[in-house]
């Protein structure tokens, strides 16, 4: 048995205490406890041996094709502004943002648009709230495919204006520059950065350098090599959102990254901006999932946004270091988001490394040039082993949100238990509750989700679950807990949708029913009137006189018999009409049932 749960208290309490005593870089501010969490084996050293490999280089050349899905963020698809056969330059806008949560898309390299098609690599961020997780596993989406020409040519006029003195620019201009660069959160969720930055009343900015998931080192390598860019990006973000303080949270076991960031801050200290910015580095405990957005905010500030609200609603903005660096690039060099640092790792790789990969590069291209052992590789994961998703195809492109490509061997990945494999019953050991970072009771939630008691699920915080997977990792019965939660979530979402449909349908049916009833009543009233007339005739009263007292009474020319016949005909007609209507409404009810 490994030390996943047992060493937790040491990571939480003992190490910080020791570091305070020994004076090593420790907790610089008072931290708030993260409930739960696990400490799995990190495997991070594998991909940290060398420097970041840049992409159009001797080691990894340009791929022949770049596949750029139109949706790499959480929001609606971007709309292509190029046609098949167009020649596009590097950094040229190829798809425009639409809707409130749109993000632009740029060409990572020059070449010809060969097709705009449903790309074979069918991937999508699986946590897209609009889709159920099963859908997102099998979904195919529209992508622009560029056949590169190898020139990497950039049309000078196309480049966005470089903002050299960003300190003097207005936040609105800077925000526009960020929007034009097509930025979305690079940490994994892919929320459009410009929208997040535009939120009002932000008092604290947190730069997330707590890359807590095993295997992933993209942010760590970035901080080691480009700390100055990260810091400057953070300052730009702070200028845009107007936060009073800026905190960079880094996991305490990333010593080199901490040193690099602290040195970069010292270099900035001389400038006036840095002195105003109230910039500090905070070491957070190396516990999974301390790098989750809400979790990091809670650790650093103690603020817990109410259920269903985002952190920006309570005035805290959180961005990953990768996003901060992309903001720097967008503003200070005018370069749109066309590449990102991705960790290519796993025990199936001969040389795991961090790669500054062009967006759209097929994964197989990266794997081939870094050396993959096909016989060892069991699966390819995009993202880490705890929150990543499965790439169904090796031609999957690198997306804006792909922070890790894990070519997992038998050693890395749980290959035995499939989603459908029988698992043991829950023994209510509460291991899951002790590791849940949201203080859910996963065992209670599991029973509610499994038996589809939707109200109980929601009451127990189903939609607060961040699907971090800690509960499923420690479950001794090997219950795929997160799968149950995902399924329950998608069922409830689908129910809500069909519930609305049912509501409108019922309104329509009621309306129809009311119309029928009114029509039948109308006919009944007519019948009553005619009957009244008949009675009047039988009583010997003059109809024409009763109804038209002042007219010269042309009807009086008709005999009483004639009038009786006419009335009888009208009664027959009306009766027939009423019966017809009633039959019709019964038919409707029958078919309705």
């Amino acid at each position: 048995m490994t030390r996943v749960r047992r060493s937790l208290w040491a990571a939480k309490y003992l190490k910080p205490m020791l570091q305070r005593i020994t004076g090593k870089p420790g907790w610089s501010v008072k931290l708030h406890a993260l409930p739960g969490g696990i400490t799995p084996a990190s495997h991070k050293f594998m991909s940290l041996r060398g420097k970041i490999i840049h992409m159009p280089s001797g080691k990894i050349p340009l791929p022949a094709q770049l596949i750029l899905p139109l949706r790499q963020h959480s929001g609606p698809d971007s709309v292509p502004v190029v046609c098949v056969g167009d020649y596009v330059y590097k950094h040229q806008l190829i798809a425009e943002a639409v809707g409130a949560q749109g993000v632009c898309l740029h060409a990572p390299s020059s070449g010809v648009v060969s097709s705009i098609t449903f790309s074979l690599p069918a991937i999508n961020p699986p946590r897209n709230p609009e889709r159920s997780w099963q859908q997102s596993l099998t979904e195919r989406q529209l992508a622009i495919v560029i056949d590169t020409d190898g020139k990497d040519a950039q049309l000078p006029g196309l480049a966005a204006p470089i903002i050299t003195r960003w300190q003097q620019q207005s936040p609105t201009d800077l925000l526009q520059a960020v929007f034009n660069a097509g930025l979305c959160g690079l940490g994994g969720a892919g929320f459009p950065t410009a929208i997040k930055l535009g939120s009002p009343a932000i008092h604290t900015l947190i730069i997330n350098g707590a890359e807590c998931e095993p295997y992933i080192t993209a942010d760590e390598a970035l901080m080691q090599e480009h700390a100055a860019e990260v810091i400057e990006g953070a300052l730009i973000i702070q200028r845009i959102c107007g936060a009073r303080t800026c905190v960079i949270g880094i996991e305490a076991d990333k010593q080199e990254a901490i040193a690099a960031v602290q040195q970069a801050i010292r270099q900035f200290d001389s400038s006036a901006v840095a002195q105003q910015s109230n910039l500090s580095v905070v070491l957070v405990p190396p516990i999974y999932p301390s790098g989750g957005e809400k979790q990091l905010i809670r650790i650093i500030t103690g603020i817990q946004p109410p259920s269903g609200q985002r952190p920006v609603d309570v005035g805290v903005l959180c961005h990953s270091v990768a996003t901060a660096r992309a903001v720097y690039k967008a503003v200070a060099t005018g370069e749109p988001l066309v590449s990102r640092v991705t960790t290519v790792t796993g025990h199936a790789m001969n040389a795991p490394a961090n790669v500054e990969a062009l967006i759209g590069t097929p994964v197989s291209h990266l794997l081939a040039h870094l050396g993959v052992d096909d016989t060892k590789m069991e699966r390819l994961l995009v993202g880490g082993p705890l929150m990543g998703y499965l790439a169904s195809d090796l031609d999957t492109p690198v997306l804006k949100t792909s922070n890790c490509l894990l070519a997992g061997s038998d050693q890395d990945i749980n290959r035995v238990a499939s989603d459908k494999a029988p698992h043991r019953d829950c023994i209510r050991c509460d291991f899951c509750a002790s590791v849940c970072p949201v203080t859910l009771q996963p065992q209670t939630l599991y029973f509610a989700a499994r038996h589809q008691r939707h109200e109980a699920s929601i009451e127990n915080g189903l939609f607060d679950c961040i699907e971090c997977g800690a509960c499923a990792v420690v479950c001794p019965s090997h219950i795929p807990l997160v799968d149950y939660y995902r399924e329950e979530k998608s069922i409830i979402r689908a129910d809500n949708h069909s519930g609305q449909q049912k509501y409108w349908q019922s309104l329509f049916e009621k309306h129809q029913q009311r119309l029928t009833i009114t029509a039948v009543d109308q006919q009944q009233r007519k019948l009553d009137k005619l009957q009244h007339k008949l009675d009047a005739i039988a009583a010997g009263e003059s109809l024409s006189k009763a109804h038209q007292p002042e007219a010269p009474a042309p009807i009086a020319a008709k005999s009483a018999e004639q009038i009786k016949q006419e009335i009888a005909a009208a009664v027959a007609r009306t009766r027939a009409r009423k019966v017809e209507l009633q039959n019709k409404s019964e038919d409707n009810q029958d078919s309705g049932q």
Binding site: R6, D425, D464, G469
Partner: protein, 372 residues
């Protein structure tokens, strides 16, 4: 890449714990106590353990067959062996084989499978089986037939000698007596009337003191001084479980703390025969096996930390009350069964609120404000 029989969604990390692993850890933690028990009270314990284990596996397999489940998959969780081991600690060594067999039958069927199997049981199966046996077979369950025990001056047979072993076998399987391989020499012991789960009320302290004045020490192999050693070995096993993270500290600490608190409050020096000393309550009785092994059964205990503390404190209070003011000799198993019944309620009342939700206090305050 072969997609069949693989996980399709995260997490892809290998699981850390397993049910067989947890059960094996509990079994390992019981080894010190098993050695201690055998050393002090003879081979009869091991015979009981064997009978309960074999019959337990048999009944479990039959039930699983009847329920149409994969037999070996469910036998592999080892839970029935833990139940068997705990039950055999509660049985008097030297009781006939059918006591052990019917005990494990009750534990398996009525303790576990009528509720839906492992994880669904309301009561701890071992405690339930033990209390049922006590009611069904009071004579056999309170008799203490032990080679070498009894009045130590008159008991010449060493329980671990060949003679002792044969006598133990004859006790467990009465038909062996007819074969008359060895002379059958057993003195029924009026002193103990006890299994480790039955407290021998408060005649015992006097006997203990007497044994000590006679020159017996705790290391000497004698029934009266073995109790402390046994309690210590249970505590040792419990600490192993705590260290490995199999059980949390809440239940053992609250049970032991409550018993200690009550026994200290009510203790009057010189009145050991009525109230007993805290030492006696903790170490000369079965408090520790209850606190570390039986009350911590996760299926029948609440799961939140606060719930566990309340649950443990209730068990401690019930133990002490039954012992002092109750008329039953046994307290631990009865106390645990009684509080097991409260467990779902405790679970519901102490369910913790997810982060970002209003706390229980805030919710009740808002309700109160509205009604006002």
């Amino acid at each position: 890449m072969n997609l069949v029989n693989h996980r399709l969604s995260s997490p892809f990390l290998k699981p850390v714990y397993s049910v067989p692993g947890i059960m094996a850890a509990v079994l390992l933690a019981l080894i010190p106590a098993a050695i201690c028990y055998t050393w002090f009270f003879g081979i009869g314990f091991l015979i009981n353990l064997l009978i309960t284990s074999v019959f337990g596996l048999l009944f479990e397999a039959l039930v699983m067959r009847a329920r149409g489940r994969p037999v070996f998959f469910y036998l592999g969780d080892l839970s029935i062996l833990v139940t068997a081991a705990l039950l055999s600690f509660a049985l008097p060594p030297g009781s006939p084989w059918w006591i052990a067999a019917s005990g494990i039958f009750i534990a398996c069927i009525f303790g576990k499978h009528v509720f839906g199997g492992l994880g669904h049981n309301v009561f701890n199966p071992a405690a339930l089986a033990y209390v049922s046996l006590l009611i069904l077979f009071p004579l056999q369950m309170t008799g203490w037939y032990l080679p070498g025990s009894g009045n130590y001056a008159e008991a010449p047979i060493d329980p671990l000698s060949m003679n002792g072993i044969f006598t133990s076998l004859q006790l467990s399987f009465p038909w062996l007596r007819d074969m008359a391989l060895t002379p059958f020499a057993v003195t029924p012991d009026g002193f103990a009337t006890a299994t480790p789960l039955i407290e021998y009320k408060f005649a015992a302290p006097a006997r203990l003191l007497m044994a000590e004045s006679d020159g017996f020490t705790v290391w000497q192999r004698d029934a009266r001084t073995g109790w402390e050693m046994l309690a210590m070995s249970f505590a040792l096993g419990g600490l192993l479980l705590l260290w490995r993270g199999i059980i949390s500290w809440h239940i053992p600490v609250s049970v032991v703390g409550m018993v200690f608190l009550l026994s200290t409050v009510f203790y009057q020096p010189g009145q050991e025969a009525i109230f007993g000393s805290p030492w006696l309550h903790l170490f000369s009785t079965s408090t520790l096996i209850g606190a570390f092994f039986i009350a911590t059964d996760p299926a029948s205990a609440p799961s939140s930390a606060m719930g566990k503390v309340i649950y443990g404190a209730l068990i401690g209070a019930a133990m002490y009350s039954i012992r002092i003011w109750g008329s039953y000799l046994d307290s631990v198993a009865l106390a645990i069964l009684a509080v097991n019944m409260c467990s779902p309620l405790i679970e519901q009342v102490t369910a913790r609120t997810p982060l970002g939700h209003p706390s229980r206090l805030q919710r009740s305050l808002s309700v109160w404000r509205k009604t006002k």
